[in-house]
Symmetry: C2
Amino acid sequence: MSTQAIAADPRSEIEARNLRFMEAFRRGDAASVAGLYTASARLLPAHSDFVDGTDAIQRFWQGAMDMGLKEAVLETLEVEAHGETAHEVGRYTLKTAGGQVADAGKYLVVWKQEGGAWKLHRDIWTTNRPAA
Amino acid sequence: MSTQAIAADPRSEIEARNLRFMEAFRRGDAASVAGLYTASARLLPAHSDFVDGTDAIQRFWQGAMDMGLKEAVLETLEVEAHGETAHEVGRYTLKTAGGQVADAGKYLVVWKQEGGAWKLHRDIWTTNRPAA
């Protein structure tokens, strides 16, 4: 029996990274959330232009936390990997301190391997809620 | 000198498909717009759940046209291809009959080769406009 490590499949690795995202978010640790993204990552948030790079991404998530968001739940629906790049489709739920759902919707993330780990590289999501 | 066709690069091919999207949209031809998507494509629009498959995608774009959108301008910023899959980041502008900008924002599309052509497979976009 070989002791060689079996490479985890990309879906499992990406779900593990999402778990870290959720844990960091729950701690209110925007720096650790931002550290899960590549150095050249971009967010594509609604009601904003692109948010580029680690510092801006940290400020974005800090702002979301400052607005009262305490929990981000990420549910992976699909992962397709092609070498060092993958895309993921999933559902998200954002909750406030009382566990109330502040928003729920869906997302598309392009992941890249950087420094031996899968990192979010392009991140965009849309609410399922009706227009205001 | 070889007469062998040089395979067009994915970015050029995807930009050519976007041109077709814009032309079909300008004609108000939602069926042709939907035909640019894979058979198993999904839209991830704001204020809606997933929109899955050719018929639902045609209805979605027909609805946008019926609401008065006459022109969709797509500007490719980035294409990365990995075999038969690619992702594209770009900017969009939606205009009404008078050429007025109804909405402007950014998008992320996962493209797949299907039947020898690049087709939109996962399509999500967000407005740059401030929240209502």
